[in-house]
Symmetry: D2
């Protein structure tokens, strides 16, 4: 059940209503003027209670906190150097797949910034298919990434794979990334849900739209509502020429269902650098709030995912085009 | 094996080479300066033969005639009112899912034309999941469609489901459409391959990129090289909020592999009208040579596929935006 | 709407009821005591009419004739040498992928028969991914197949790809096979629906259970109710070690929904001969009414699909095990 | 690279070889007479070293420790009451989806045992799609499960979702289960890989065969080689009548590639109780080493996954049939 409160309603009555519901017993979650009571289907309001209530919505989706029914207005995430979500904002995030060395990530940060990126990406803990592949530089990588971002006036986004790393990584990052393989690692979702660090949740390879929203609800239910959702391709029968199938219709579908910003990741979606630019164009055109891309100055010697990395020149041309496209789209609204 | 001939080479020597290869025996298909000899892997050229040969390519894909290796230059299809394929051309095709009546298709043709469409679509023979659903008006529908197109200076594209209808439909249409369910109806492909009517081949729900190219090869091997390929969504696990998954990466992938124009069909890909506009934006941004969309003035009472039809106002706004996007992209090249 | 008639009801009243409904106007299809009126949702029965009616079922699936609601009893198809469907019947069908020569198909027919097969399979018209692959021997192949079957007291099953071949192939075969790629070739389905030759309809690579049933309804609506359904693998992301994914749960699912016999095709499902025997075991254990398998004495030189063909010895061992398994299962009922 | 050592070779020479390789530096893992050196492609053996070496295999799969190339003989896991894997062993595992109460799990344990199960399953920590669903009884549930198993002379298998729970759960269980959603939770895989508790690794919804083997390698590389693999259905387009698609061909495919036992889980694969028995038959017929099924005496009021639970009578009939089928199959070998 959702209860939409009136604007400027009597806070004492609201508190009374919340306390009565909690005593049922029930979970009651308030964000601004929106109340979610997930397990409860209906309630009889007293006249006093009714005076503060704009609307009661009895039928709600499982992922209630993330739904537009609960919160019609867009979630906007504000970082020191970036604003993610909301009308007219388009956020570029770029960087190497892995943090490879202090010098390399600094070099890549400069390129990322030159292309208009305000977040620097880079993995210090890498989820690799094989245990014998490079697993990341660990805390040293986090330090290099943070320094490179600071040097360029950028925010940091980096992956957390493990709930035991949450506190450590929180010291270095502005945004936690949850990888596709961990989309339903519920322990990890709960752990980041208890922090106040914004979370970028990647859709899993077999993640339906509802699965993704339910996964985000694990984070929100813990109290952390600064969530963005990343479309990065799903697994289908069609995987000879692309690594995954980029499901761009997920962008407008999610925007109907949820208030969280939707970001696209063309690099992982296709896995081949020469397809990244057209898919970046398609991603911005589909209406995404931002984009995350992988760049590398020497893809053939990248520690991971070289084939999908854009070289600096290609990246700079692509971002210029993407921002031009976004500007054109802004003129329509 | 592919043999690329030199420009302005001695035609007599070329004929001699072709005849020698045919006598092997082998199939030899010539298009301009390109020779394909599908079943043959290698040949020893005489000195005279070598004088007309620019390059011999021994390793070729199964769908050799459609490959860029065979014909590097784009296939451009010229109709009375449209040019499809090639640099700088973007072709809009629109109309109702089914031809419903003479008056209705005329009304829809006007709308289509107003939005910049140069081809009018409409089904007279409908492939419906259930035998008890509306199956189309048949030849009467073809007549109405042709008249509506002529009245507005447009070309016609309509589906042929059955090789016994090929001659009949050829009288009325400028382009044969082969539907997704018939992508591997090889008898039908062979039948349209023997005509000189351009063919728009839709990718099947489970059609891989290679399957699509091999299906096009059935048409090309029959002698009809005016082929365009339509991406209209594939079947995946993710089908709650969209009918299919729009595989936009197929656009640049196909453009690398084949010289045929690639057209996108956002209507069938998503199946919900309010997702069609963002997916049309994404489709043009992905680099497609054109787009086919369904329109209807009263979608709730459409004979088929109402939920995915754009109303006239939405369609007109969408096409304006799509052409603006294409114009922006042209400025980059 | 379905109307179940009482046993031994007055035929004159039944005829009156049917005529009244037809005059609505509506399609009315009668099979034994079952009436289907596909487009009609409800009717008010007169007292006389009610006297012959056991039950009116208003909510019906789209594929009404094939549904258990319409006909609760199993469809049993009786051929000169085989009985397909119904309790306690298990039918083996075997033979080469393609008819390769008169001598070869005779040799294979002997092997098939020795393994307990009562139907001989073999393709004379082959649906091949590439137009340059072997396309079958045509009518000569049909003759060889028929003779080989007759010589061994077997029935024939062979594929029809094209409605223009229906009459020709009907002269030689006992069962039409509709291939996976043609599952939704509605013109072909309508064409075989007008014959009285039983039809084995293969599930398409992207065919849902409902799609398969609706496709079968095209045949049934034409008047041909001798239909069997073939599970032969669907297309999924998992195609490195098997050609397709064998969806054996489709066997009991279909048996709940429809009265048509369900046959499994482990050869096409997996595409690798050494996986065929375990999947044949799994297929009989899943409760299928029969099985179709490909055999070849020299798979490496087979004209098509060699990798999935069982050599005679393997086939003979497999069928012995399959029949033993079926016998064990019969003892449970 | 794999080095197969001769039987009864000089241990001192072997140790020398291992030490030389480790000093390269390289990881060297020895299990019996098999050496894996994952990152190394080739080595030149001295004459002395060559004397203890039966074979050097240079080209190896990424998941080397799990491969048949590394260890041709079956892994057999021996628990107090069960033997899993190897010729002629078939292990039944059964129990409720969730441990619901002390009394209930004891009741279910008796039923499980009566059907021939030697492992009792039951979840104390439940991975649920929604955060508002029942999440399990936690440690109390583990205690009840352990007691119920002990009372009936059974072993315990239960899920671990979280590396911080590994030590706690290890006190109560004989086998760790890793759920499908955590198949690529590499931190968790590493954590159980450091224990000596056998691990049952479930295939993820989008997990390819290679992904599953690589995930198992994370466990094996940590030193824990007692691994079994569970096929429990994959996610495909076909999900109206079954929850997932049961990929039974994965059983023989995995048995070719790996020495680990392969177990089938028909309950999760189909998600509907009335399909579980035919799929259990198909599972044993496909050659699995064992089966895990969910049972409940009152499925409508089960805390989780009620629709797929077998009632006791159905379960007892099913297991009797499954063991009869396995006995028949044993008679063939």
């Amino acid at each position: 059940m959702i209860i939409q409160l009136k604007a400027n309603a009597d806070e004492q009555v609201i508190t009374g209503l919340i306390n009565r519901l909690k005593a049922t017993p029930a979970t009651v979650i308030r964000i601004n003027n929106h109340l979610a009571i997930p397990e409860v289907k209906t309630t009889a309001l007293s006249a006093t209670e009714a005076s503060v209530v704009a609307e009661v919505i009895e039928k709600t989706p499982a992922a209630v906190l993330g739904s537009r029914l609960f919160q019609p207005e867009d979630t906007v995430i504000t970082l020191p150097h970036s604003v993610i979500g909301g009308k007219g904002n388009f956020t570029m995030m770029a960087g190497p797949c892995s943090v490879e060395s202090e010098a390399h990530v600094r070099k890549m940060a400069k390129v990322a910034k030159a292309g208009g990126a305000t977040l620097l990406r880079g993995g210090a803990y890498k989820p690799r298919t094989s245990p014998y592949s490079f697993q990341g530089l660990g805390e040293a990588g986090l330090k290099y990434l943070r320094e490179a971002a600071d040097e360029n006036g950028m925010d940091v986004i980096t992956e957390v794979m493990d709930e035991t790393h949450v506190d450590l990584i929180a010291k270095y990052t502005d945004v936690f990334q949850i990888g596709a393989r961990n989309m339903q690692n519920f322990s990890l979702l709960k752990a980041v849900g208890k922090t106040n660090v914004p979370v970028a949740l990647k859709r899993g390879l077999a993640g339906s739209i509802d699965d993704l929203l339910n996964a985000s609800e694990y984070i929100a239910a813990g109290g952390n509502h600064e969530i963005m959702l990343l479309e990065r391709g799903i697994r289908t029968f069609d995987n000879k020429y692309t690594r995954n199938t980029f499901d761009l219709a997920a962008v407008p579908v999610l925007q109907k269902l949820t208030h969280y910003p939707v970001i696209v990741d063309p690099s992982h979606a296709v896995g081949e650098w020469d397809l990244v630019t057209p898919m970046a164009h398609a991603g911005v055109a589909a209406g995404a709030s931002g984009m995350i891309v992988e760049i590398h100055d020497d893809p053939e010697h990248a520690f991971s995912d070289g084939p999908q990395a854009l070289k600096p020149d290609t990246y700079l041309k692509m971002t210029e085009q993407v921002f031009a496209m976004r500007k054109l789209m802004d003129s329509w609204e």
